[in-house]
Structures are given as C-alpha cells and as structure tokens.
C-alpha cells in the first residue's frame, strides 16, 4: 500500500549511500567543535568513560530502534513520522506525536543553515586572506560579532549599507540545500553524500596530519596539546576515579552522544523508511554510528583543541563555547600556523560539508509529510518548505542581537523537544511495538545479529536513562541564574525570546493542521481500499 499519492515510491540506490547519508546527517559542527571542547573542559580523558557507556547503552540501541521503526513504516507505505507512528501505534493520537518529528528538523534547519553559511563564508575569508587580523584576539571576536550581527537586531538586513556577506552566504546555502533536496532521495541526497562524506574525511585527515606535525611554538608542543585534551583529571585534580565522580561530566557526555548521533531528530526514521523490506538495518545503523564516532573522536578529538593549545596556550582555549572555539579561536590559530591559510580554508570547508549533509537531512522529514500525507508533488513540496524555512531563517537573521533567536530555538527545539521526541520513540519501540516484534524488525535482513539483550535495554534501561538525564538537565536549567542564560526566565524578560517561542508555536500549529489533513486523506485511501476488497 503506497499512501503517498500517484508518484512512485522513492528508495535508496545503494546500501553505502544510505549509510553515508545517515552518517552525513550525524556528522556536523558538534563533531569538530563541541565534542573536543566538552572533553577538554570536563576532566579530559576521563570524559570518555561516560561517553562510551552512553554510546553503547543509549546511542547505538536508540539508533537501531529508529532505523527499524522507519523501515517498518516505510514498507507499509509511509515515509513521514506521523504516518510511521500511526502504523506502529493504532490510536487516533499517534500521528499527532509526529508533530515533534516535523518541527524538530524544520526549526533546527532554520538556524543551522545560518551557521552553515558562517562556515562557507569563513572558508572564503580564510582562503582569500581576509581573516589575517594579526595576533589580537579581540579583533577576531569583533569580526565574528559584526559578521553574525551580534551587535543589534536587524543589523544584517538594514544595518550595514547593502546586503551583508552573511546574508549572501545564507542565500548560497539555501540554494545548495534546496537544489539537492529537489533532486530526491537517490539522485540528490545519496549522490551528494557519496561524494561529500569521503571528501570531508579526506579534508579532515589532511588537517590532522598538519596539526600532528606542528613544530613547538613558544615552548608548547603538539604532545602538550594532546595532553590538555586527553589527560584525565584536568579539572578536579586528584585521581582518575575522583574525576569519574563528577556528575556534570556524565550529563554532558551523555548529551554529547545523544545529540551527535542525531537520534530523536525524526531524521533517521525518515531516511530508513525509504529502505526495502529485507534491507539490512542492524549493520547499516552500526556503520553510520561508527563513522560518526570516527569523525568525532579520531578526527575532531585530535585536531581542534591540540592545534589551539599549541598556538594560544590554556588561556586561549579554556572555557570557550562552540562558536567562539570555531569562529574566534581557530581563525587566530590558522594565522599563526605554517600553511595556515590553506589548512584553515580546508578546515572551514570541511565544516561546511559537514553542515550541508546535516541540514539536507533536516528538510526530508517535512518533504516526506507533504508527499506522503498530502500527496503533494516534489516541486510543490520543495517550494512550500522553502517558503516556510526561509521565513524562519530570516527571523533568526533579523533577531541577531546576541544570537537570542538562534539560542532560544536551539534550547526549546534543539534540546528540549529532542529529549521528548527520543523518549517517545523509545517507549514506542519498547512498549508499543514490543521487544519481540521490535527485535525481529531490527534483525530481519540483518548482516549481523543483534542480541535480544538490546531489546531489554531499549524497553527498560533507555527510557529510565533518558528520563533521568532529561529531569536533571531540566532542573539545572530552571535553577540557572538569569545572568547565565535561563531560558525559562528569559521568556518573561526578553521580548525576542518570547517572540521566538511564539514563532515555534505557530510552526507547530501549521504542522498539526497538515497532519490532520494527512490523517483525513489516509483514512479516505484506506476506506477506498476496503471497498475494493469487499
């Protein structure tokens, strides 16, 4: 049964294509900037213990569940999360939970494509020498703040006289993303990822070789940089075991795994819905996760922090956030590094590739709903989604002061809603689909056999683990002082934050309406099929 309308159902062309597409969705800025920053900040190498535990207990099992549920819905004619949830859970409310699977990727796309445009612009600026600002760190900071419009709302649109470079870069990124998504699953996403992922890894290896062969600078060697990143107990002092007792580190390590693998985004479930009945999911899911981990630990973990440490020392690296590390610290490092202009432009280009493969995947879930639920053709669905996301991205670009709109969206959608969606999907797999059926789904057509223990982990351990992390995180956020960025209090204090949440609400309502129309259409199709059978 194909409920998507008249068009033939799309599918992946090759197995390695879908693996690279899911890997591309997962590999992003977090692998090269957020992970090394967190690992160095929280106890150095000790961070890797909770990190790998979370990978094995939460990350990989959740990915298997999402892949299996996606294929389960796909072979029953659905590619959108509302449709897939409806095939698994036969309740009227089920498809409406799919609104999270719509707004999470769509709203993340709205601000992520803006960050993607920074990577593209910085690759250009580094290659053309426009980022050669000397040794003064404040110059790099003010360049970045001016580029992203941190000084005032509307600065990028009406402030600088003419169209700002950030807006031009954003327009290029929009065109690239929508041109690829228009070409479809196999000809667009798959072909691009088959080319982009190996190129990304090649670029990262070239940058890695340059970093690992750096000569000492002002008495600091690469080994010192690696030591800053990997030596245990850098923060609390004392023994390795004392480092492991840091609860905040466990929270951060689990969060890093959770966000890095793209589970709970509504993306994997959509991608895997284009698989065929007996296509492998067990090995494919594991391979895409392994690829993401390789990019994060073996490439990101050896490049960013060691390079920054060699040239800037602890003072230049410690306590830097993800954006500051990527767009303030590293440009300064590349100016001092031998061959820095080439290596720097290559690094920002690989960040751009990583961002495109991720942003591309964020568009497909909504396209799937428009095609699968409303029977809209590819051209019309791409145009509709283009219009919705353009409004959202312009909202983020306009309210650029202190990146308030971007940060607010990232908090409520990029963190809060992802936790909720992942928990819902875990319960859907473990308690609604059930361990027996669920494990059969994971193992059908599998090139490796996943033990039944994973089913019990998904049913009992993962929801509790996720719930505990979510509640702890929520408690911390609610009690965070206002001056350190309390997103609950900012709803009352900041009109832009309140407006952003209202905007999220409007997008959610739009998707609830589209889901309601889709459900109506699916019921009509089912009724017609029933009449034909009789």
């Amino acid at each position: 049964m194909n409920q998507g309308g008249g068009a033939a159902r799309q599918s992946w062309g090759t197995r390695i294509g879908v693996i690279f597409a899911v890997m591309g969705s997962a590999v992003g800025l977090g692998n090269f900037l957020r992970f090394p920053g967190k690992a160095a900040q929280y106890e150095g190498g000790a961070f890797m213990i909770p990190y790998f535990i979370a990978l094995l207990v939460l990350g990989i099992p959740l990915a298997w569940a999402e892949w299996a549920m996606g294929r389960y819905g796909g072979i029953r004619g659905h590619n959108s999360t509302p449709g897939i949830y409806r095939t698994i859970w036969k309740r009227a409310a089920a498809p409406y939970f799919g609104v999270l699977g719509m707004i999470v990727p769509v709203i993340i796309y709205m601000y992520y494509v803006f960050i993607e445009s920074w990577c593209l612009a910085y690759a250009w600026y580094t290659a053309t020498g426009q980022l050669a600002l000397g040794n003064d760190a404040t110059k790099y900071k003010s360049f970045f703040d001016g580029f992203v419009g941190k000084d005032a709302d509307g600065f990028l649109v009406i402030g600088g006289g003419g169209v700002s470079p950030a807006v031009i870069a954003l327009a290029i990124c929009f065109v690239v993303n929508f041109a690829l998504i228009y070409r479809g699953i196999s000809k667009g996403i798959e072909k691009f990822c088959l080319f982009a992922m190996p190129l990304l890894i090649l670029c990262a290896i070239i940058v890695l070789v340059r970093v690992l062969t750096l000569a000492p600078y002002e008495g600091r060697s690469v080994l010192d940089g690696l030591g800053y990143m990997w030596n245990p107990h850098t923060q609390t002092g004392g023994s390795f075991w004392k480092s492991l007792a840091n609860g905040q580190m466990w929270l951060e390590a689990t969060g890093q795994i959770f966000f890095s693998l793209s589970v709970g985004f509504g993306i994997i479930i959509t991608y895997s819905s284009y698989l065929k009945r007996n296509d492998d999911v067990a090995l494919s899911a594991l391979t895409s996760n392994a690829g993401n981990e390789f990019c994060e630990v073996a490439l990101g973990g050896l490049i960013t922090i060691p390079a920054a440490f060699v040239f800037l020392g602890i003072a230049g690296v410690a306590g830097q956030g993800t954006f500051d590390l990527g767009f303030v610290v590293l440009p300064q490092v590349f100016q001092v590094m031998p061959m820095g202009q080439f290596v720097g432009s290559l690094f920002f280009f690989l960040l751009f590739l990583a961002a495109v493969t991720s942003s591309l995947s964020m568009l497909q879930p909504a396209i799937a709903l428009l095609e699968d639920g409303l029977g809209v053709g590819r051209k019309a669905s791409v145009a509709m989604l283009g219009f919705i996301t353009l409004i959202g991205s312009l909202f983020v670009v306009y309210f650029s002061k202190n990146l308030t709109a971007l940060d607010t969206m990232d908090f409520w959608i990029g963190t809060f809603c992802i936790f909720v969606l992942a928990t819902f999907q875990t319960i859907l797999f473990g308690w609604v689909l059930g361990i027996d059926k669920g494990m059969e789904e994971i193992n059908r057509g599998g090139n490796i056999r996943i033990p039944r223990l994973v089913g019990y982990v998904l049913k009992y351990v993962a929801p509790v683990y996720l719930g505990a992390i979510f509640v702890t995180w929520l408690y911390q956020e609610i009690n965070r002082p206002a001056e350190k960025g309390n997103y609950f209090k900012s709803l009352a204090d900041s009109p832009v934050a309140a407006l952003t949440v209202a905007f999220i609400g409007i997008v959610a309502l739009l998707f609830i309406f589209l889901i309601a129309r889709s459900v109506q259409r699916w019921k009509q199709i089912e009724q017609r099929e029933e009449e034909v059978r009789i």
Partner: protein
C-alpha cells in the same frame, strides 16, 4: 602527556577506528557475496 592520557587516547581512537573498519569490511563483503533467498526473489507472475 601522561600515561593515562596516552592510554585513554589510544583506546578511544583505536576503538572507533577498528569499529568503523570492521563495519565497512562487513558492509562491503556482504554486498559482494549476498545471495537472495527464494522468498526475496519476486518472479512477477502472481497474477497469472
């Protein structure tokens, strides 16, 4: 860099590298030698 740092770095980088290499080996060897069982082969003759 301390012994602890070396140990954790080598184990971490080694684990993810070996895992990826093993997965890719399995993916490529299975693709090349995959034999479809009879139920997976659709002869397209059901209507006849």
């Amino acid at each position: 860099m301390t012994t602890g740092g070396w140990t954790i770095m080598v184990l971490s980088v080694g684990f993810v590298t070996v895992l990826l290499a093993w997965c890719l080996y399995k993916v490529f060897t299975h693709s090349a030698t995959e034999v479809h069982a009879p139920p997976q082969i659709d002869p397209h003759d059901r209507e006849k």
